[in-house]
């Protein structure tokens, strides 16, 4: 398991000699570079990932190192590209397909959900589809309604998929390498606001296991379950509340499917209060599953307050910064809600 993030910075403590500071984007790039080096079957596909280095520069420089055969610009054809990735995976390759924004993967749902996720099962378990679909997600960059969505919950609803969403550079690298090892399709979501986040990242390849959450801050009074950018926001909120004497535990989901129910249940039994913080629309966002899972688990009996969900507002993401900020949980919202929850009693 990863070392817990420091509560104030969201950064991992540096193990001397083992790692340097890299940005989230650099960590992903390093993972892809190492995978391309280690395994002939790995190749990258995506719109403008070669010369341009990707819309968020995640693949910058990989073309120069690996050439156009391994770092392939696709036409603007999300559905076709996804199908090509599925076919290549079935025929022995290990493609990584980058969607330029998660919003555009809506064009490829057919291939992701009807083909990639189901082929192994439909074919009686006789083959597998080792493909990694990467996509930048979330709001905060002024992208407005069609460039800011957080539809992770859709994929987490689909049997046959795994869904991963790192919150820091260390996990970004380790989860991407784990996704590449996985014989089944993995959705890999990268929050745009994290790309520039710096943190310690060991140079040698390593894996962060899919399906394992991390307790990134220990606490006793309230459990906050979050992922992606909401982890650092929740840690910031926890630091604020610590000053008020409220002791918050923060869990970084890291994997949205399969959920690490064990870690969450254990935490809720300890703290007796649960809050889910997520950016997707509140209704049926990932927090709905976590709340429902706890409400039917053995942890239910331990709950000392209703389960609070702080999700995205029920709107398409608006453009104007003042509205855009109001559309998703910010540090102050999280702190205020957690404080309310800590003071609530059944």
């Amino acid at each position: 398991m990863t070392a817990p993030l420091s509560a104030t910075t969201g950064a991992l403590p540096i193990e001397p000699g083992a790692s340097r500071e890299l940005s989230f984007a650099e960590a992903l790039r390093e993972a892809m570079g190492q995978a391309l080096e280690a395994d002939d079957r790995v190749f990258l596909m995506g719109e403008d990932i070669a010369i341009y280095g990707g819309a968020f520069q995640v693949t910058l420089g990989l073309l120069e190192r690996f050439g156009h055969d391994r770092v392939m610009d696709t036409p603007i054809s999300e559905l076709g590209s996804a199908g090509v990735a599925v076919g290549a995976a079935l025929a022995g390759m290990r493609p990584i397909l980058e969607f330029q924004f998660q919003d555009f993967a809506t064009l490829a749902m057919e291939q992701i959900v009807n083909q990639a996720a189901k082929i192994r099962y439909m074919f009686g378990g006789k083959c597998s589809v080792p493909v990694v679909f990467r996509a930048p997600t979330g709001s905060g960059t002024g992208g407005a309604a069609q460039h800011s969505q957080s539809l992770e919950a859709w994929y987490a609803h689909v049997p046959g998929l795994k869904v991963v969403q790192p919150s820091n550079p260390h996990d970004a690298k380790g989860l991407l390498l784990a996704a590449l090892d996985d014989p089944d399709p993995v959705m890999f979501f990268e929050h745009k606001l994290l790309y520039k986040m710096k943190g310690p990242v060991p140079e040698a390849p390593y894996r962060v296991p899919i399906g394992k959450a991390a307790v990134v801050r220990q606490g006793t009074q309230v459990t906050i379950v979050a992922s992606a950018i909401m982890v650092s926001r929740s840690l910031e909120a926890a630091a604020i509340l610590a000053e008020k004497g409220i002791d918050v535990e923060v869990i970084d989901l890291r994997t949205l499917r399969p959920l690490d129910t064990e870690t969450i249940i254990a935490s809720v039994k300890k703290t007796t209060r649960l809050m889910c913080v997520y950016e997707g629309a509140k209704t049926l966002g990932i927090g709905a599953e976590i709340a429902a899972m706890i409400a039917e688990s053995e942890a239910f009996d331990y709950l000392d307050a209703p389960i609070l969900r702080l999700g995205g507002a029920e709107v398409p993401i608006p453009y104007s910064p003042v509205l855009e900020k109001a559309a998703v949980p910010q540090v102050a919202d999280i702190a205020a809600a957690a404080e309310r929850l800590a003071n609530k009693r059944v």
């Binding site: 190749f43 055969d69 696709t74 036409p75 054809s77 559905l79 076709g80 590209s81 996804a82 199908g83 090509v84 990735a85 599925v86 076919g87 290549a88 995976a89 079935l90 025929a91 022995g92 390759m93 493609p95 057919e110 291939q111 009807n114 083909q115 082929i119 192994r120 099962y121 439909m122 074919f123 009686g124 378990g125 006789k126 083959c127 597998s128 049997p159 046959g160 090892d181 996985d182 014989p183 089944d184």
Partner: protein, 353 residues
């Protein structure tokens, strides 16, 4: 391989060399009589398989939907004749023919069709999802045009791995109006991938005739939009299909990229179980029944001295027996165990490569 004396040595009515038609199809000089007779047998296997499926349905023994390709056997078998086990195909909802043509075992197919544990997909897939990945069949597909980009991906893998193979992609006229068709053909063209697009144009997508849905006269007319050859073939002629695919394979192997082949054919049966045939005339159907692809291939084989009528009859009877045995195998097979429902969703940890 040209036919050897041995291949045509069977007793009976094979036409003497002097009587044989001029300009034999190229397939007749490339494949041995034995291979061509196997192709005939596959056509009979398909026909009988689907008649048996129909029979099971009429007797209330089956469950899901099914799409029969009766009348389209030449297209499936002719297209697959030049392929080897390391070549890939992707198929469609109307995929029994492609699957048998690519070499699948009808018994395990019938078991799958019947939802049995012994089926190709252990009963998880059914008629619309039969796959035989080991034999290069990447599966039937319930999604119209769903297999087209997948075939392109398989061709990309072939190219990346430096193999001499091709991926051949079956789809219908209706699929040519899906966005997936467009995106896949464009990608195959710009990357010069070894893929062969075989559109089986049977004039209808369910009830919708090509005249009402397709903005060109021939699907092959769309090839120019992707700078690839567009070839129209009589899909009821096994040898025409095989010849067109051979040319496309050569093109693909030479690194020249994909070919779009339009196989003009006809499905004799309704679209699926639910079809009440409100959209085509009896006359039209009968005119195509008269162009039966199996009869036609038999006549051709005999005319070219590649089989005798007696051999053809024997082949047909062997196919009938094989399907009867397949049905029996299926009937004798167990249903899946409901407790096993989760098996196959994910690759078990210990199987990870």
């Amino acid at each position: 391989m040209t036919p050897t004396a041995q291949d045509v040595s069977a007793p009976g009515e094979a036409a003497p060399p002097s009587d044989r038609p001029a300009n034999p199809p190229r397939a007749f000089s490339v494949f041995s009589a034995a291979e061509l007779q196997t192709a005939l047998k596959k056509m009979y296997l398909i026909r009988r398989f689907e008649e048996a499926a129909e029979d099971a349905y009429q007797r209330g023994l089956t469950y899901g939907t099914m799409h029969l390709s009766i009348g389209q056997e030449a297209s499936a078998v002719g297209a697959c004749l030049p392929l080897g086990p390391s070549d890939y195909i992707t198929s469609t909802h109307r995929g029994h023919g492609h699957c048998i043509a690519k070499g699948a075992d009808p018994a395990r197919m019938f078991a799958e069709f019947s939802g049995k544990e012994t089926g190709y997909c252990h009963g998880r897939g059914g008629s619309m999802h039969i796959a035989d990945v080991e034999n290069g069949n990447l599966g039937a597909n319930g999604i119209v045009a769903g297999g087209i980009p997948i075939a392109v991906g398989a061709a990309l893998a072939i190219k990346k791995r430096g193999l001499p193979n091709v991926a051949l992609c079956f789809f219908g006229d209706g699929a040519a109006n899906e966005g997936a068709f467009h995106e896949a053909l464009n990608i195959a063209s710009i990357w010069k991938l070894p893929v062969i697009f075989v559109c089986e144009n049977n004039k209808y997508a369910m009830s919708t005739s090509i005249e009402r849905a397709l903005s060109v006269k021939n699907v092959a007319d769309r090839a120019v939009a992707y700078s690839m050859p567009g070839v129209i073939v009589d899909g009821n002629s096994l040898t025409d299909m095989a010849d067109a695919v051979m040319a496309a394979i050569e093109r693909a192997r030479a690194g020249l990229g994909p070919t779009l082949i339009e196989s003009k054919t006809y499905r004799i049966r309704g679209h699926s179980r639910s079809d009440r045939n409100r959209y085509r005339t009896k006359e039209e159907i009968e005119s195509w029944v008269a162009r039966d692809p199996i009869d036609r291939f038999e006549v051709e084989l005999i005319a070219h001295g590649l089989a005798t009528a007696a051999e053809c009859l024997a082949i047909r009877e062997a196919a009938e027996a094989e399907i009867a045995a397949a049905v029996k195998f299926s009937n004798d097979s167990p249903l899946p165990d409901a407790a096993d429902i989760l098996r196959g969703v994910h690759t078990p940890a210990e199987a990870k490569p």
